[in-house]
Every structure is written in C-alpha cells, then in structure tokens.
Subunit: 364 residues, 4 copies
Amino acid sequence: MSGNSFGKLFTVTTFGESHGPAIGCVIDGCPPGLVLSEADIQPDLDRRKPGTSRHVTQRQEADTVEILSGVYEGKTTGTPIMLIIRNQDQRSKDYGNIVESFRPGHADYTYWHKYGVRDPRGGGRSSARLTAPVVGAAAVAKKWLHEQYGTVFMGCMSQLGDIAVPFEGWEHVPDNPFFAASGDLELIARMEAAMDELRRDGDSIGARIDVVAKNVPVGLGQPIYDKLDADIAYAMMGINAVKGVEIGAGFRSVAQRGSEHGDELTPGGFVGNNAGGVLGGISTGQDITVSIAIKPTSSIRTPRRSIDKAGTPVMVETFGRHDPCVGIRATPIAEAMLALVLIDHALMHRAQCGDVRVDTPKIA
Amino acid sequence: MSGNSFGKLFTVTTFGESHGPAIGCVIDGCPPGLVLSEADIQPDLDRRKPGTSRHVTQRQEADTVEILSGVYEGKTTGTPIMLIIRNQDQRSKDYGNIVESFRPGHADYTYWHKYGVRDPRGGGRSSARLTAPVVGAAAVAKKWLHEQYGTVFMGCMSQLGDIAVPFEGWEHVPDNPFFAASGDLELIARMEAAMDELRRDGDSIGARIDVVAKNVPVGLGQPIYDKLDADIAYAMMGINAVKGVEIGAGFRSVAQRGSEHGDELTPGGFVGNNAGGVLGGISTGQDITVSIAIKPTSSIRTPRRSIDKAGTPVMVETFGRHDPCVGIRATPIAEAMLALVLIDHALMHRAQCGDVRVDTPKIA
Amino acid sequence: MSGNSFGKLFTVTTFGESHGPAIGCVIDGCPPGLVLSEADIQPDLDRRKPGTSRHVTQRQEADTVEILSGVYEGKTTGTPIMLIIRNQDQRSKDYGNIVESFRPGHADYTYWHKYGVRDPRGGGRSSARLTAPVVGAAAVAKKWLHEQYGTVFMGCMSQLGDIAVPFEGWEHVPDNPFFAASGDLELIARMEAAMDELRRDGDSIGARIDVVAKNVPVGLGQPIYDKLDADIAYAMMGINAVKGVEIGAGFRSVAQRGSEHGDELTPGGFVGNNAGGVLGGISTGQDITVSIAIKPTSSIRTPRRSIDKAGTPVMVETFGRHDPCVGIRATPIAEAMLALVLIDHALMHRAQCGDVRVDTPKIA
Amino acid sequence: MSGNSFGKLFTVTTFGESHGPAIGCVIDGCPPGLVLSEADIQPDLDRRKPGTSRHVTQRQEADTVEILSGVYEGKTTGTPIMLIIRNQDQRSKDYGNIVESFRPGHADYTYWHKYGVRDPRGGGRSSARLTAPVVGAAAVAKKWLHEQYGTVFMGCMSQLGDIAVPFEGWEHVPDNPFFAASGDLELIARMEAAMDELRRDGDSIGARIDVVAKNVPVGLGQPIYDKLDADIAYAMMGINAVKGVEIGAGFRSVAQRGSEHGDELTPGGFVGNNAGGVLGGISTGQDITVSIAIKPTSSIRTPRRSIDKAGTPVMVETFGRHDPCVGIRATPIAEAMLALVLIDHALMHRAQCGDVRVDTPKIA
C-alpha cells in the first residue's frame, strides 16, 4: 500500500533495482487452480527483453523467470506467487560519471530531493528494467482472463517520432522490430533509417502506442472513482516515460459533437466505439482501446546542461546502453498493465456481483 | 476501498444520487488544527454549480454545503469531516421516458448489465452532480496545502470544440462564462455564438481543460506505481466525460527528440517544463501542468438510435436540463481532483520522509 | 483508509460525534439487488439504544435511522448506502466541568496529545455512541449473509463483574435487561441488585460477552495476515472498552494438551469446537465463537485523581448520564462487528474463488 | 491487499511455503536513510530459528537472511527491501502419509475446502515457518523505532501448560530455553521435565506469552477502527496457533470496578497501567503490554480420529519434526508483530500530525 504494489485484489508488489542482484514481484490474490509454469510467463518476457534488435539497448539479459512460491504440482494454490529474475549484465561502471549530477529528464533530481539517498546503479529503481516483473505478473493475469472470458490483448506502435504507422493488421506486429501493425516494408525501412540516424546523432525520439483488449465482459469497473478507465489511466501513466493517455476517441473528443461521439446501439450491438469500451467507468463489452504517448529516452549522448548536487553547472552526457526509443519495448508493457487492471476489476466484480455471466445477453 | 473512496491518507468517500435527497462525502484523514468553516468551501462549490450562465444546465441548485462533523470551535479535530449538500431541484419526471432504454454515450447500459438494477433519477450515481462533494472536499485540501506550502491551483478552458483559446492570463478566467484565460472579447463572443447554435441544434460539444498547481514541494510521489502523475491520470480520467489526460508535453512528446524534451537544469532552475513538474513519478517543484479532453455531453435532444432492455430498437431523445458542454463546468472539478491528489501525496511523503522541508535548496 | 473505515470490500466509513448534530456511516460495496429499507435496520439499533432499562444510560435517543442513498425502489443499487442518525439529546453542559482535565480511563489524555485539539462534547468521537452507525451497517450485512448462506448471529453476557452467567439458551436473551442467556430469575435479580448497588456507589463494573455466528460457509478467511480470526480480533478489540478477545477455547488453550484441544473429525463432522470455527485463519463451517472482556465504564461519580492540561493535580468526578456497565449494551455491538467481518470475507472469498458453494460436501 | 500483506504504510508482503525453495518478504515503505545490513536482522531470526534446544523442532535451518534490494551503500533507499531466506531442510517425505487426510487442529481441512488445492509440503503456507520473514521485517522496524524514539521490545513466556512462570526480570530470558523471565532454576527444571514427558507421550501443550514495548510515543493510533489496540489484536491473533489476546488488564477487567481499573493521573504520570498503554485506541506513552494464548501444537504422534478427502474415517498420527510447544518460539514472533504495528502507526501519525514530538511534555 506504500506505492510499490499494483492492484487491490490481484496485487503485484515489485522489488529490485536495475543493477542489483535480482528483480521480481510477489503476486497476491491469484485465484487457485490455474495451471501455471514458467513456460506461460517467459514468452511475454522475451517480447520485452533488451537486445532483440539493434534499435533497442544492447544490454544482455536473458530475463529468465523463476517461480519461487504459490504453485504446487503445476497449479496455483491461491497463495502468493513469487517471480524472480536475476540480473546478469550489471555494468554499473557505466554510470560512474553521473553519480554526482542530475541527468535532464531523469528521476535523479527528484529521488535525491525526496529520499536524500540515491541509488545510481543503472537508474536504480527508476529504471524501465523494473517493468519486467510486471510483464511476468501480467502473463499470469492474461492466462486467467483468457481461460475465464476468452480475453486477449494486442498492442502496436502507431507513431514513431513524426512517422505515423497506419494500422493494417495485428498479424504484422511480430514481423518487424517496432511492433508496427503494418506490412509496408518501405515504411519499416524508413523507421529503421530514422532510428539509425538517431543513434548516430546520440539522440532519442518519442512514440505512440495503441493497446486493445478483446472479449472483455460487460460490467467491469466501479462507477466512482475506481472507474475502469481511471484505473487504466493510472496504470498507463505509471509506465516509465508515459506523458499522455487516451481511452477511445481520446483528445479527438474535444472537437466532436455529441451526435457524433455517443455510440448508438442497435440490436446487433454498438455502432462505433468512441467510448473505447467504457461508459460511466464500466466496461461495455466492446474492445477496450487505449493509446499512450511515450517521451523520448532521457539518456542520450548529446551533451546537456545540468547541475551537480552542490548546484554547480555541469555538462552531462550519458554513455552506456540505452534504448534510443523507449517506446519500442513499451508495447508488451502497456498490454501487461491493461491485463493487470482488467483482472483486478474482474475479481472486484465477482466480489460484488457474483460470478461474471459471460453468457450475458451481450449485444455488442 | 470498494470504489467510492478517493485517496489513501486524505480519503474522500462520497454518497448520493443526482435526484436523491442529498449528496455529500466523508473526509477521513484531514490533519487536525486547520481553521475551517463552510465559508472556506462554498466559493469553490459556487464556481461549479449549475445555472450560472445560459451555457450550462438550468437546474436550480444552491449547492449549499453543511459541515456535520469533524470541526469543533472552528478547527478540524483530526476526525472525519462530513459534508452534506441537500438536493433541491429533483425533477425526476424529466427522466421518465428513458427508464426502459439506454441513452447512447451514457452509463445506463453498463449499470444495467453490472448491477441488474438501475437508478434513473437524473442518472443516479453516474451524474456529474456527484462532483460537487469532491469540489467541497478539495476546498479543504486546498486550504491545507496553501497554508503548508503556499500551493495554489488554477484552471482554464483551452479549447471549446474546434475553437482554440490561446492562454493570455489567469486573471481573465472569472470574467467570462467559459473559464477562458483570455481577454479577447471577440473570441468570447464567438464561443457564445457557438454555444447558442448548439443549443438550437439540440447538440453538444467537447472541450479541453488545462490545470496547473503552483508552489508544489519537491519530492511528492512514489516511484512505482503510485507515481504522482499516475495518480493524477487516475483522478482526471475519473471525472465524468474525460477521455484523455496529458502531463506536461503530453502527446507532443511523441514527436519530440530527447535533446528537446528533457528539461535542462541550471543553477537558476529548470529550463522549460516538458515534464509538467514530474520526473520519475515524483514532483520536481515546478508547476504541475495537466490537460484533459472532455467528450461532448451525451444527453442531447437530437434523436438517436438505441435499444431498450428487451433489445428492441428505439429512438432516444433526451429532454430535461443538460449542459451542452460539460467541459465548461469541468475546470473547478479538475482543479479539485488535482488538489486531492497532491494532499494525499503530501501526507504520504510526510509519513515516509518526515515533515516536508519547504526550505529545501530548491533550484526550480 | 485513514482509520475511520472498516472492511475492505464491504467498507463502512463512519462520521459524527456524540453531541454533534448527527452520526452515521457510508456503506460502500454492498451487493446490488438486496431488498432493503429502514425497517431492516431499526430493530438492531433499538436493541443497542440507550434508555431501555434503568441499568443503562438515561440519555434519550430514538436512534431513528434514515437511508439517504444507495437504495432505489426498495433495493440496493450497488452504490454507497448512507445511513444517518440525528442526535437529539445533546446535553453538552454536563461535560463542561471536565474540558480542562483528563478523566482517568478515558481518551481525553490521548486525544489531546495526538491532535492538540479536543472535542469534549460527550466524549466527541471516542464516545460509545459511535457504535450506533456500525450496528446499522451490520444489519445490512446480516440480511445479506442470511439470504446467501442462512448465517445468523447471537450474543449474550456470560459474566457481569464477578457474577458468572451460565448459558441456558438463546431464547432467554430478550427476556432480561442484561442479554443473559439464562432463565434463572434469582440470578437475574442478583445482577439487578449488583447494578443498583453500583449506581448508588457511583462506580462501574466490567463484563464478559460471548457471540456466535451459525451457518458460516467453509473457506472464509485468508491464510496469512487477513485471517478470519485476526480480523475478528481486530473488530472486537476496536469496540470501545474491550480489553481482551478469545476465539474458541481462547485462554483455556494454554493449559490444554494437543490431544485434547485439536478437534477430531468424523464423517458426521467435527467433534468439539475448541477451534471456535477457524483453522489456519479460515472458517471450518462450524459455529464461530468469540468472547470479549469489557472494562468497567470509565465515567464514574467516584472522585478520582487526575491532572489538567497544565499538569496540575485535580480531582475529577464525572456526572452526566453513563452506563454503569458498558458491557450490557455491548452484545448487539459485538454481533454487529462479527457480521461486518464475515461479509467482508465472504465477498473476498467470492473474488478469489468464485461464488461460495453452500452445497459443499460440508461435514460439520 | 489480498491478505498476504501486513501494514498500511510499512507494508510487509510475504511469500513462500515451508518446504518450497525459499521464503521471504518485501518491505514497502521503510523510511530512507536507515543504516541497515543483514547483521541487523540475523540476531532476531536466530532467536526464532528451530533446533536451538531439544524442546523445539529439530529441523535444521540456518535461516540465513539476505537483502536483495532496497539498500545501497549500507542505507535504506526508501524503495522496497526484499528479504529472502532459502529453505534447506525440506524433508517432504515426512508428510507423505497425510496428504489425503486432514490433521485435526490443522489448516488442512480449511485450505482444501477454500482452494480446492492443497500444498502438503510441510504444511505449505500454513506452517509457522512463515513467521521467519516477519521476524526479519520486524528487525528493520525495531531498528527504526529505536533510533527515532528509543522504543524497545521485550517478551517472555508467563505460563507453560499449567505451570505459571512468575515474572522476575527480563535479564533471565536469554538464560533458559523457554524465554522465561525467571532465574528460578528449580522452576526451569520443572518446565524441562514437563516438556520431556510430553515428548515421550507424543503430545503437546499450550503457553501464555507476554510482550511489552517501552518508550512508545504518546499519540499513536486512530480512534475508530484502526485503534492501536485493535491492530495489535489483529497482529497477535494472526500468529499461528494464537487463540486469545489481552491488552493491559485484559480479561481481569471483567471483575474490576471502574474505581480500580481506570488508571489515575498525577503530575508524575499515570498510577498503574490497567490500560496497557492504550486509551481510546491511542497510545498513552506508558508501556504497551500484551498477552497471548497459544494453543498446543496440532501435529502430535498420538493417533487421532479424522477423515480423508472422500469423507472416510481414518486415524492420523503426525510424525516428522514438530515443536511440542509452539509457544516456546512464539516470544520473538509476538515481539515482531508488535513492532510492525507500532511502526505502521508511527508513520500514520507522522502523515496526519507531522513529526512526532518525542519531547512532548510527557507525564507518563
């Protein structure tokens, strides 16, 4: 409850630092009887892990997950599931030069002022590496949601810097290093070129990511404050480097008229999904659609003005291994956060209204 | 903890329905010794209340707040503060015609599927009227934050449908019915004309609202998950009709380069505020800047396709008294939510790190 | 979450002071569709209310409960239920003489040191009067538990000072002013004489109360920390004046051998109930049995040594209307707390394991 | 929030099973800047660990604790502290014979009915072995409380079965295998003989444990529900095998008169401590005094009637390595739980009322 736990009923508590001995999490509240092994979790971790292409950090981490508790004879027991990932490539020397000063755009400055202590080992706890345990925990959530309701999660990059990536189909996502839902090879080549240029420049770029959950039961969410969309916004804005979140039509709603925005209903279901699958904080049974804005990586080689702890001006360059676009690996992370929100609300719904009737006369 | 409470340490639990006898909230966790009376709370409620111009709902509500507990001899005692606002203008007959069908864009459909019960009295609990108690609770939070740290809150409408409202100065906000930070009378006239036309058309429009907190101490927020910005996103997306949230540069970050986005530091402070006052989930001491997208009001006179509880097609027109742009009254609500997030994090910070040192060698 | 809420999923947040305008609570998380009106709640309040015999405080309070939200057309809607009880007999002048000094055994001293503010109106928030809203909220919980599982709650006084009250049968409880489960009229007369003597002496006495829940489903409770018995202990020790809590054999367990204490099982069920219906923190399906020790009322007419705020010695006598044995009215309160614990665990169980199967091959 | 976490602000989340690969916990909310290493934690674990005398289980466990996160250069960073203890002596074969039936007095029956899954490895999660991580976490809490307020914790066994152990002085506790605060060698010999006889008989016995916290600041605790004593009761009843909890005079209060029970005040402080250091749910600054009843160990060699999963009658004898009196090792565990409650309330107090003034004109 002190900040490092996510979820009320399916509660994930993480621990660890980027360059400490291990990272991981404890999952409390997973329903019993779910068939589970590391093999259910590893594939999602592999999608997120570093070093998969030249466009992401070259840090070498197998990100091998180990289940230390909560599973007996291949089934969850209802007690806490502990996931641990041992760090392998801890080159803390890379960070030696920035211990005394604050990297622009980084948490260095705020940690220092908050805690009076700062763990510079790879950014310590503020590193995006801490999203790995979350992706692991979400793999458990996804499996349960899929078994219960058939829920599935998809995500893609829809913009890289100023390059828009028109959606063509989910099947393209695994075929390129950007999680682009596009089979346009010329476009992919343009993205690769842009990334190569950035790397040469020692600079970085932002991205826009879209995530979708399909086959979500009607009725998940609490009307006031723990709205499904409010919790999604919390989850997404909590991902490192995220600066904006949209549900459904998002900021396009501003210029819409009510007669255009409000999704009409017919006996065949909703006509349109400006709502993004949420009305009044509660799921409609349509796809949940979310978009997020990811800022450019703060760690860049380009020298930047800063100050040290004494307040003296310094120039800071960040060497080491960094993603020139943290947005690239954000897709599986955003899917993971969405899954964690949905399982929590599914359990909460079950508490208050009993077992979810998936056979609801659903019209969407 | 079941959805209707906001905040962990300064916890606001609301109750009531739009057309029930009363609405209100219990504030648990307000520090003792704060000088407090209804006079500290009423002005914020008056900024939000209906009927202040022809551009908002004509429902007649004095929204008079009464403190029923937690204050003794003009000071908070540290025990729960109960605020109650009695509903006056409960014309539920207006809603009679929509009890059996689902209004597009409304929570009718989802409430019905979730609870199997639906309170149609003015939208029941899903009504924006339920933001009144929150504004009341936030007035208490604002007073405490101002006394402790000098924190102040401002908000304005920066876009009405497709009319952008360039920021000129906070002093203009009270001088027009739109919370526009602009003294451009021609622009205001254009906004009024647009609203009048909408009303004639029986339609509605969206809006973009910006809110800012100034004089926020450095160090508020938890690094992983209860980040300050994550909790702000949760709070904002929880406001009725909000579909998008941005912190700092928001979606503009997508096309920015790291060398542009990352705010440099000098001995005189940060250069720029793309971060929106939050780095790594913790406040930097700069202004917290937030923008939200508000969808067009769902209740419109224009007939729309829908279905009834039996799934039969119907046409729905919503009569009654509605804001043609719910965004107009959203400004004080968004300020309120921001204040509630900040006091909660201020108290959490005090728990973990001791009294906030406002005399921190702050360089921002 | 700041102390004044009880329960995680069926959350009761109280407000009010003994001599303020009103007391009450907000119930968040009550399942929808429960038929509910004030008539379901008032009887439990009437059992607890003052003035029912000469052995309890003569304060005149009708304790009439009003439902202000959360119920529509006679059914709970799933949204917060607000209960309000207006205070009628607020003779705060009675307390005038003790504002500056600390009554022995009372919360005066600790409130003063904690908050630096003290609300002396009838003990303010520390008054046992604040148990009324809890009894109201529990009436809702009891109704739901009874409808779902047939659960019923009973309680009785088993000791008044040094007078033991042997259990004869629940049917006797309403027939005497002490909640004694005894039809022994001579014993009741002895209790009445003891109380009359105490009143003459201006003194008070303690009591022991037993409460039982029958027809509790198997499987409620979390194995580590939020054990069913741990939450019961929390609930009971939280009642004003309680100094001890036992589950099942309680302190008798100390001198028992394992071969005596551990309840054997046969195909017909458990043999004995030393466990008090809880093993490993989880309900067995047997009766939940709880005993509590209630200290003698602190407000007595007998002069006692104390100090004032300046630390100067003073003598304190407490006039006004007080229960000479707060234990007498504690029986319905203890039943109420037990009901609140059970509904919370029932909902939590439903979240984690799905709908409770009351047709479990239960052997107890 | 799903049961396996303890504390709201200093939150300990445990994981692991008795015979799994490892047990441990994540501590979230420890204030930054505390000097901390394994050497601060190991001594408390050593007091609790098995195999220290012939009167406790002979399981061989070094219980060596390792800090995996949250400490940098010897100081806590304010981020989660992960403690891990690897299990060494996992003879699960010992339990093979009881997998299909339910041991009387054990959690076997309730786990099976709750989860439909049961982890028999050494009792799985219901084993008292899971108190080890708590003792580790509490060592951190104790260190912080001692540095802030000088708080210290003591505990002793005051009764073993029917042998009362009169309190002589804390200095005797480490000198005998029972945590007896007595230097009476004849008494200790009698306790040893009783234990030896029990072991020969294949039976077990209960115990009474007293714990005390000294130098507790005035003002810790919330008046309604999260009372300091309510949270202590929750913590204590949550320890394996505890069936009763008393604060201060406890069940003796039942027969006390108000003129005897209510502790008078003089300028020199309170006269007596029937309150056990808590009035109205808030600490008085006096010693916090708590007693608990521990039931006899359920795992005994004496054959007992039970049933198997099919409901067929069976006889159960539990071989393997068990404490004939689990109460013996309960003393450090009870101290630990008390420390966890106090640090949580100390942080909560700091949130609501600012830094605790230890220089309060304390008169106790």
